[in-house]
């Protein structure tokens, strides 16, 4: 028998405002997140990621549709659900005059077993190198984020809902965070995280959904989603680009969207680097930069290939 999905939404919609000022933030979202997976919710700012999360937590109410978390109704059983989940909002606001320890103790008290929870919070704080004796107002944005992670994870919830979790964390801490999420998955727990950073989702998620303008465009495994073989390449030559080299760049099947500007060339490279290196080797290359595709690029590439395949 298949286990109950940890998150299950059915035609979930949310509209803000009324009359002519009405905005559709989420449109008929139907999806499932299974136990033991790290699910990424990808989309640009304003796509509806935070709205979805706030609906799951019963902070806002749906205009239509429903959601079930851990087999319970997101609205009717919200208190029981929140007992079993941890949450980190995108914009973390806490009582500025209180110390990390005071907030940890308060939230642990509300959750019940404060002794055990506080002990685990201390372990998490140590792992994240967070000083919990400082007042919130004295913490940097990165350290506030760490405190938010401690608060979300200290009671070892079955489901973690994280909204843009690693924004503000330095690269080393991002790595620690990724390891923590993998450890979480290894324990059979579930993580639902939203992000607009593809590399983050790529690093830790098993599956991801792409949300755009409130509409879920796709839910795919990370391998399938990120299996696009192109990069953006920027080449700066010492001198003006020779005509012959320009012609070869234009003729290459691997290169598209070529933009020439004096001694610089920007292009979209499909496949291996070798054909490009052979062409640009004719000139003196001062600088070569490669950028991974943006979320939007992936999105467009994914869809153009899907449509092409039909």
């Amino acid at each position: 028998m298949a286990s109950t999905p940890v998150i299950e939404t059915s035609r979930l919609s949310k509209t803000y405002g009324s009359g002519s000022r009405q905005t559709l933030a989420l449109d008929n979202l139907s999806m499932t997140v299974n136990r033991g997976e790290v699910f990424g919710f990808l989309g640009p700012n304003g796509a509806g990621k935070t709205t979805t999360i706030r609906l799951l937590l019963d902070l806002i109410r749906p205009s239509s549709g429903s959601a079930r978390i851990l087999g319970m109704d997101a609205r009717d059983d919200s208190v029981d659900i929140r007992r079993r989940i941890g949450f980190l909002p995108a914009e973390l606001n806490l009582w500025p005059g209180r110390t990390g320890n005071q907030i940890i103790y308060y939230m642990a008290s509300v959750r019940g077993d404060s002794k055990g929870i506080v002990k685990h919070a201390d372990e998490l704080a140590e792992q994240l190198k967070l000083d919990t004796t400082k007042r919130v107002r004295d913490l940097s944005s990165g350290n506030r984020r760490k405190l938010g992670l401690v608060l979300a994870m200290m009671h070892e919830p079955e489901l973690l809902i994280l909204d843009e979790p690693s924004s503000g964390l330095d690269p080393l801490m991002q790595q620690t965070f990724h390891e923590m999420m993998q450890g979480y998955r290894d324990k059979g727990k579930t993580v639902f995280l939203s992000s607009h950073v593809l590399s983050e989702v790529q690093a830790i998620c098993d599956r991801a959904g792409i949300l755009r303008d409130g509409d879920l465009k796709a839910v795919e495994t990370i391998d399938k989603l990120t299996n696009v073989e192109f990069r953006w390449v920027n080449v700066r030559f010492r001198d003006a680009i020779p005509d012959g080299l320009t012609a070869e760049l234009r003729q290459s099947d691997a290169i598209s969207q070529l933009d020439l500007n004096g001694s610089q060339a920007t292009m979209r490279l499909l496949g291996d680097f070798d054909p490009l290196l052979r062409i640009i080797g004719q000139g003196y290359v001062e600088d070569l930069r490669v950028e991974e595709p943006s979320l939007e690029d992936i999105f467009l590439a994914f869809y153009s290939s899907e449509e092409g395949g039909r």
Partner: protein, 269 residues
């Protein structure tokens, strides 16, 4: 249903309000009692007030100049009228502290990610601020009463204490009305404006009711919580608890409505 953690936490983080407001009002009470201990001053004021028209007398917090002839009448008229106005500000602030401030600052998302219901949140926070206001009122009672004893002033201490305690239902009303407004309107600035209008309007209704005569003026006065919070009737021995009970019933209705509204709407900005 309620485990009391939010109540205890609110009291732990807000007890200083009792100290500051209580001390401030207590000093005012001591000052008024100190003046009342000088019979020449009280007699002088009584003669002055007897010569004033009702509308001007009302500005000093009394509708009957005869009240100023007794020490307890003098203390209650001056102190209760000033305390009711000043503590109305505290009551509005308490109403904002129930939900609006944490919602405005974005902390509500973290609070409501914990396993507590919206009803429990409003219930425990309202009880906490009701207790804080009670603490302030008890300071308001204690300082004048102890001063009357300390200065050896001959006054009906029971009447003075009862008159000051009678402020409590009215202040609770201001708190729950403010809380209700914030649960309906979400925008704190609009709620503050309307709560201020409620307090000022209530004060003006009481002034007009005292100064004018007729059915309309009487009705306006009955609608004012300042009228029901006034200790004059207690001092005069004509206190009818119906008005106070009415205020408590309205407090209960507003409280239930604020829970209902908070349960219905989206949280956060």
């Amino acid at each position: 249903m309620t485990n009391g953690v939010i109540l205890a936490n609110t009291l732990r983080t807000s007890w200083k309000q009792v100290l500051y407001w209580g001390l401030g009002m207590g000093v005012l009470g001591v000052y008024i009692v100190f003046i009342s201990s000088n019979s020449d001053i009280v007699e002088g004021y009584a003669k002055l007030f007897e010569s004033l028209p009702p509308a001007v007398l009302q500005a000093f917090g009394a509708s009957d100049a005869a009240l100023f002839s007794s020490t307890e009448g003098w203390v209650v008229s001056i102190f209760v009228s000033e305390a009711s106005l000043i503590l109305s500000i505290q009551a509005v602030l308490a109403g904002l502290n129930i939900a609006a401030n944490e919602e405005q600052s974005g902390i509500m998302d973290m609070i409501m990610s914990m396993p507590i219901s919206r009803t429990q949140f409003i219930l425990e926070k309202t009880i906490a601020y009701a207790l804080i206001t009670l603490g302030i009122i008890l300071c308001c009672v204690a300082f004048p009463v102890l001063s009357l004893i300390a200065f050896g002033v001959d006054a009906d201490i029971g009447a003075v204490a009862s008159s000051i305690l009678n402020l409590y239902p009215g202040l609770l009303l201001v708190t729950v009305v403010t809380s209700l407004l914030t649960t309906i309107l979400r925008r704190r600035s609009v709620a503050i404006g309307l709560a201020a209008a409620f307090v000022i309007g209530s004060y003006i209704f009481n002034v007009i009711g005292n100064a004018a005569s007729g059915a309309v003026a009487d009705l306006m006065q009955q609608l004012s919580f300042f009228y029901h919070a006034s200790g004059e009737a207690i001092i005069a021995g004509t206190f009818n608890p119906t008005g106070t009970i009415g205020v408590i019933v309205i407090v209960a209705i507003c409280f239930a409505a604020s829970i209902s509204m908070f349960n219905r709407r989206d949280l956060g900005l």
